[in-house]
Subunit: 422 residues, 2 copies
Amino acid sequence: MKARIITIGDEILIGQIVDTNSAWIAKQLSEIGIALESIVSIADTREAIHFALDQAISIADLVIMTGGLGPTKDDITKYALAEWFESGWNVDQALLDRVEQHFTLRGVVMPEVNRGQAMLPDNCIALTNEFGTAPGMWFERSDTVFISMPGVPFEMKAIFTDHALPRIRERFAGHHIVHSTIMTQGIGESSLMEIITDWENNLGDLKLAYLPSVGVVRLRLTGVSKFGEGLQERVDARIKAVLPLIEDYAYGFNEAQLEEVVGSLLSANNLTVSAAESCTGGYISQMITSVPGSSAYFYGSAVAYSNQVKEDVLGVDPQLIEQFGAVSEQVAIQMADGVRRKFRTDYAVSTTGIAGPDGGSAEKPVGTVWIGVSSEKRSYALKYTMGTHRERNIRKSALQALQLLRKEVLKNLGISLKEALS
Amino acid sequence: MKARIITIGDEILIGQIVDTNSAWIAKQLSEIGIALESIVSIADTREAIHFALDQAISIADLVIMTGGLGPTKDDITKYALAEWFESGWNVDQALLDRVEQHFTLRGVVMPEVNRGQAMLPDNCIALTNEFGTAPGMWFERSDTVFISMPGVPFEMKAIFTDHALPRIRERFAGHHIVHSTIMTQGIGESSLMEIITDWENNLGDLKLAYLPSVGVVRLRLTGVSKFGEGLQERVDARIKAVLPLIEDYAYGFNEAQLEEVVGSLLSANNLTVSAAESCTGGYISQMITSVPGSSAYFYGSAVAYSNQVKEDVLGVDPQLIEQFGAVSEQVAIQMADGVRRKFRTDYAVSTTGIAGPDGGSAEKPVGTVWIGVSSEKRSYALKYTMGTHRERNIRKSALQALQLLRKEVLKNLGISLKEALS
C-alpha cells in the first residue's frame, strides 16, 4: 500500500511557512503502519492540483491533501477537486448552521463569502471540522482514497484524528505494530545511549529510536510482526527492564507531557503550587496552565523580571541581591519561599538565570540558571548550565523546574521514582 | 522557468523530522525571482530517486536535491545519481585531504568508510562543503540543472549560499518577484476580505494571499514581472492604499511579531509594562519575554489564577468578585490597575476569562474574556468572545491584550494608527 501527501499553497513554495503538517500526518500514519511513498508540495492553481491528482492516482492508494480550503478567492482546492471528481454540489444545511453559529458566537454577522463554505461536492463524505468552517472531504476513485483537509494545523489535526484516521484504519489494515515510548527529561540522547547500551544491544528484533526535542528525549521501542501475538508483552517486558537504569530522567510514557504528569500528581493528592519566574518569564506558568483543569492546583505565579519586583512582590532581601547577585542560590530560594507564602500554596518553584543572548559574564555565563523548590519541609536550589540559545534555555529551565517539583512531591509522599513509573 | 526541490530520506516520510531545508531554499530562490513549481519528499531508495529524476527532467529546468550524502549505508544518493547520469568515478585528492583533516582536527583517525566521501561522479562539478565531508554536486542533462547537497542544514546552507546560488544566478536570469506582507490581528480572513473587497478587485496582475494562523492573518501581495522595473513601487502603492481600510487590525509588516512591535514601541519611548494574567496563565509574559532585551521594558507579571491571588497580590476587592464574578469588567480593571501600581510600571494589561474546555455558563460561556489596560491616564476593559478551543483562546486573548496595549501607548504618545504603520 502506498500513501502520498499533497500540500497545496504558494506559502510553502516561496518558503514563507515551514510545512509542519506533513511531518505530523506522516507520524500518525507511521504509527498505524502506513509508510509514505512521498510528500509533494504544489502551487494553488487548478492546473497544479489536477496534475498532482493525475499523478497520484496512478501510484498511491491513499492521498492526503492539506490547504486551500478557506473562504477567500485564493482558496481553490474544493473547486479544483469538484472538477476533477466531476462532482455536483450540495448545500449542507447543518454545516451552514454551524458556520453561521461560528460567527454568531463571536457577535459577528456571517460574511456572505462564508456561505460557500457550506457547499460540498456531492460525491464526497464530509469530515467534520470542530474548530473551523471548512470541513474535510473524503473522495474515492479507482480504489484510491483522497482526503482533503484545511491547512490550519489545529483544524487539520482535529479532523484527521477524529474523522479521517478511524476510516483509514478501517480501510487499510496494516501489519501489527506496537510502539511504547518512555519520556525522559534532563539528559541528552548520547548520554542516555551510554547508560542503556547493554540493554539496547539485547533488543533482538525490537527497534529502538531516540527522538530528541528541546529538553526531552523520547525513547521509542517498536515491535513489528505479521500476527501480533505476544508482541505487546515482549515490548512491555523490555521497557520494564530499562526503567531502573533511567529512573532519574524518565517521567512518563507515550507522549505524556511533564506538565500533565505533575498536574495529575498534585491534583490526585490535593496539593497546590505556585511559581516565581525570572529567566523563564512566564513559560512555567504557561506550561502548567496549558493543561485543562489546572486551576485546581495552580494558584498563580509572579513573573519577577526586574529586581524591584523580586523585592516588592516576593520579599527577596535587597542585600542578598547586592551580595550574591540576582542569579544566585540565595535569591532562587527566597523567590520560591516568597511566592509559596504569598500565594499560600503547598509547593513553589523558582527560576533565576541568564537566558541570553546577552547579559552573561565570566563568572555567570549565558545559560547559568538557578532553580529553587520550596515546601513546608525544606527549600533548596540547584544550579544548571543550559546553553546559549535563548528559547531552548527557557524551555529547558522550565522543564527542569517541573521535574524537581515532581521529585520533591514524590519524596514527601514517600513514593519512590520506581513506584512512580509503575 | 520551473524549479523543483527533491528531499531524500525516510526521516521526513515517517515524520521524524520537519523539513525546514525546503522552506529555506524556497525563500532564497524566491528572493532572486525563481518560483518553485513543487517540493517533493521521497524515500532513500534507488528506485524512488531514479523515478523522481525521470519525472523532474521532463518538467523542471532546475532541480535541487538534499539528503542522503552521508558516509553510512543508508546514504545512497550519490550512487543513485551516478547511475542515472551514467557517471564514472574520480578520486578527488584535495577533497580526500580535507576529509582526513576534518577528522584529524577532531583528534580522530578517519574511519575507512569516509574514504568513499572523496569519490565523485566524473560528470559533475563539486560544490565545496566547508563544514562537512560530503561536497555538493552540480549535474546538467538536457538543459536541466541538478544540484545535490547534504541534508544537514548548516552544511547545506553554506554550500547553497557560497557555491550553488552564484551559479544559479548566472544560469537563470529569473523573473522578478516582489512580496510584501501586512500583519493583522483581531479579525478573521473572511471579515478582512469583506473590508478590502473593492481594493482586492482592482489589483490587476498583482496577486493577494490570505495566510491565517491563530489570532493573526497575514495579507501577502505578490508582483511578478519579466523585468522588474517599477514592480516594487506598484506593490508598495497598493499596500499603502489598503492600510487605511485595515489600520484597526494591521500592526506591522513582513513577519513582524506583535510582541516585537510592542517591545520596540515601549523600548523606543522608555516605557515599562507589567501584566496581570488570569485566563492567559502566563502566555502574555512568555510572549513578551521571548524577545531578547525585553527586560528593559517588562518588569514582570502576576499570574493570578486563583481569586485569593487576585486579592492578596493584586489588591482586587473581594466584594467586586462576589458581586460581578472574577470574569468581569470591574475585576479586569482592578487587576490591571493593581499590577501597574504594585510592579511600578507605566502600563499594565490584564486578562480574566474562561479558557475552557469547562467552566462556562449561559451568561458567561467558555471563551468569554475581559481584557484590561491601565496607564496613569485611564483604565478600561473590553469583552471578547474567543471561542471554545483552549489553546487558541489563550493565544488570541494574549494577542488582543498586546494590541490594546499598542493602541493605548500610541494614543498617549499622540501617534495615529496611520502614522504607526508608515
